[in-house]
């Protein structure tokens, strides 16, 4: 189920949060409304951690992670590193890496099995990603843009990419990622997908400017409808026996 919200009057949700299957990082803000929405949705399932990275609030764009690990840029302070290590479960490996392209969230996108990265990434960083996150790494561009982390968002169920992606590119990416992909927009025609949307396997959050059409596209491609009780009941109905003949 996708939720529409705002961070301090901005619709670019994906900039201020990082959502994975095992945890959620949220930025600090004046009022508590943003955090409280996440808390209400996720608190009983996964830990929701309030943090900054390198003193900034743009946590979503600076770090990259999945259920196995979390990678932080070299600008992260030691206190933040400690705070994160303490707040996240032990299964999650928190690692700070030295990478020239320090906005890791813009340069890479990943789910629990595959990662797409910027074409100019260091070799060591690639090995680190493969190590810490336990994923297969592919260097790719999306619609001619090297910032793959900004222009696509994908989970284990599906993915949404930049609207100008050609059909051949879409096929290629889909085969690499092994998930269905769709080209679309978010926040009323914005092409920066990951800036307006943050998603994991059962839930998604997007900016409040997102139109109903975009929302339905998101829900379809990330298979969010199936998490609802009606869907589960429909699935189960096929295996339930009504009358015993």
């Amino acid at each position: 189920m996708a939720t529409r919200l705002r961070f301090e009057n901005s619709c670019e949700i994906g900039v201020f949060t990082k959502l994975t299957n095992a945890y959620c990082l949220v930025a600090n803000e004046g009022s508590e409304s943003f955090y409280s929405i996440f808390e209400s949705e996720l608190a009983d399932v996964i830990p929701v951690v309030r943090t900054t990275i390198g003193g900034t609030r743009i946590v979503g764009r600076l770090c990259i992670g999945n259920k196995k690990g979390l990678l932080l840029p070299h600008t992260t302070t030691d206190q933040e590193l400690e705070h994160l290590r303490n707040s996240l479960p032990d299964t999650v490996v928190v690692q700070r890496i030295n990478e020239k392209l320090s906005a890791l969230g813009n340069c890479m996108a990943c789910n629990d099995h595959v990662a797409l990265t910027h074409t100019d990434l260091d070799k060591e960083t690639e090995e680190m990603i493969a190590d810490v996150l336990g994923v297969e790494v592919f260097r790719q561009t999306i619609a001619g843009n090297t910032l793959v982390g900004s222009y696509c968002a994908f989970s284990n169920k599906g993915g949404l990419v930049h609207p100008h992606t050609s059909v051949e590119d879409l096929d290629e990416l889909s085969t690499l990622l092994q998930v269905p992909l769709v080209a679309g927009t978010v926040n009323r025609g914005s092409e920066v997908i990951a800036g307006g949307l943050t998603v994991n396997d059962w839930t998604a959050f997007c900016g409040s400017d997102t139109t109903a059409t975009e929302l339905s596209v998101i829900e379809n491609v990330f298979k969010l409808r199936e998490a609802r009780p009606e869907a589960i009941a429909n699935e189960m109905k096929k295996s339930l026996i009504d009358t015993y003949v």
Binding site: H164, T165, S166, T185, E214, V217
Partner: protein, 482 residues
């Protein structure tokens, strides 16, 4: 480098959900149009002031432009009246049909503008123009007083005949110089041309100056004065005097001009060309020089007398300067004396090549003429008795009397002042044209359909190739004039 074929995919429009090709705004055209109206600041209704008499429209503050319905000029005019805010680009403009009497003009415009993040939107919209009737200044002036003139050119020549004016009339017709004259009036000794504009009159004077030597003066008279705007309305008068010396006139110029003693005028244009009888040379006197010391002619063509050539004796065997004049000694007698008495004159003439014994010639009889000229008095002893001027075709013309010519001339429509009949003079003028091809050079002659050619020995006439066929509506123009 190998490039993979890229086919554009399709995304859903973010507002309405229909599939479309992705664009910069990622909205379908309909949604974009409903969101943004690029024609927001535009005028939809405008007024044009239009004169119904002459079909012209006013471009403020004072210019009136010709704008017929559904024409290019009207479209340009309408577009100019639209003021264009925000630098919006105009792609296409066309008229939409409206009833001609509805006083409304509708123009459909297509404009393009960049909206949102780089999407260029094209939109068509209609502007309606309301035509308001108002008479333009020139039409209202014409309405108030149709014969009101502002400038007049008064052509005058102090001679007893009207040959010059016939010739000028033909020139004016050929060059359409009097096209803008409101009225043309014929007076004794001249013609008046009335114009609505001082510059038209001035142009006309310049035109006349090319063909005859003139002296001009101009004056103006105050008609009205607007004290508030300091506009003064005048009537302008150009007094043009044409030099009184004509072709075939005998002159004795004052000695300070150093032209000679007795001269015959051969050609009039911006200067006067004379033929010196003693030396057979041509001399030209410029108009300005003439008017500094103006002199009149001794004898003019009205005083030509007819002579019969009895005997001819050519003096010059060789023609030196290529002219058509040869000196000869002739014996002539006046036609009025011929047969009655034995008065014979022995004279020297320049028409040696043209005359033969038995021909008729026209010339001046100086012995019998009564001339009152101070210059001539000094030469009293040395002037010849008879000066022959040209060959006469009178005998042949007698046969032709009453018959029509093969050509005719057009005329200006003039108001004639008084009861003058000038048929004789007109006949003389036509004869002049027939005998002198160089006079015909600037004139248009038209073929006379009612002419039947006769087989007799004709006097010199205009060859057929030189005649322009009268222009009819369905025929093509048949100009063969060299």
């Amino acid at each position: 480098m190998f490039r993979v074929q890229q086919t554009a995919g399709s995304v859903l429009c973010c507002t309405c959900g229909i599939p479309m090709a992705p664009n910069a705004a990622n909205m379908c055209a309909t949604c974009l149009r409903s969101q943004v109206d690029i024609t927001a600041g535009f005028q939809r209704h405008l007024t044009i002031i239009h004169c119904p008499e002459c079909d012209r429209s006013l471009q403020p503050p004072r210019t009136w432009l010709k704008t017929p319905l559904e024409s290019k000029e009207l479209l340009t005019f309408c577009l100019k009246r639209l003021n264009n805010p925000n630098q919006i680009r105009l792609i296409h403009a066309e008229f939409i049909w409206t009833e001609p009497h509805s006083k409304r003009i509708k123009v459909k415009l297509k404009v393009q503008k960049e909206v949102l993040n780089g999407v260029v939107l094209e939109q068509a919209y209609i502007v309606e123009y309301i035509l308001q009737n108002q008479m333009c200044d020139s039409c209202s002036r014409v309405q108030a007083n149709p014969v009101q003139w502002v400038a007049v050119v008064q052509l005058r020549q102090q001679v007893a005949h009207r040959r010059t004016f016939f010739y000028l009339e033909q020139l004016i017709l050929k060059h359409d110089a009097a096209m803008r004259a409101i009225r043309i009036k014929q007076t004794n000794r001249g013609i008046d041309f009335f114009f609505a504009n001082r510059s038209h009159a001035s142009n006309f004077v310049v035109f006349v100056e090319i063909f005859v030597p003139i002296r001009k003066r101009y004056g103006k008279q105050l008609v009205s004065h607007d004290t508030k705007s300091n506009n003064y309305n005048y009537k302008y008068t150009f007094s043009v005097e044409i030099c009184p010396i004509c072709r075939e006139d005998l002159v004795c110029p004052p000695p300070n001009l150093a032209l000679g003693r007795l001269l015959i005028c051969t050609k009039i244009s911006t200067g006067i060309e004379f033929l010196d009888l003693l030396t057979l040379r041509h001399r030209v006197l410029e108009a300005k020089e003439y008017w500094r010391t103006p002199f009149t002619s001794l004898l003019s063509s009205k005083q030509l007398v007819e002579f019969v050539v009895l005997d001819l004796n050519n003096l010059d065997k060789v023609n030196v300067s290529g002219s058509k004049y040869y000196m000869a000694d002739v014996q002539v007698a006046r036609v009025s004396d011929f047969g009655k008495n034995d008065t014979i004159f022995f004279v020297r003439t320049h028409l040696g090549q043209i005359l033969k014994p038995g021909d008729y010639a026209l010339g001046y009889d100086l012995r019998a003429a009564n001339m009152n000229d101070m210059e001539l008095d000094k030469y009293r002893g040395e002037i010849p008795e008879v000066i022959l001027v040209k060959k006469s075709y009178e005998e042949r013309r007698k046969k032709q009397r009453g018959k029509q010519r093969s050509w005719k001339l057009k005329t200006l429509n003039m108001e004639v002042d008084g009861d003058e009949t000038m048929n004789d003079e007109y006949e003389e003028f036509c004869r002049d044209l027939e005998e002198n091809p160089e006079l015909r050079f600037n004139i248009s002659l038209y073929r006379n359909e009612e002419y039947q050619p006769s087989n007799d020995d004709d006097p010199p006439s205009v060859p057929l190739e030189e005649l322009l066929a009268d222009v009819k509506l369905n025929d093509e123009d048949d100009e063969m004039m060299g």
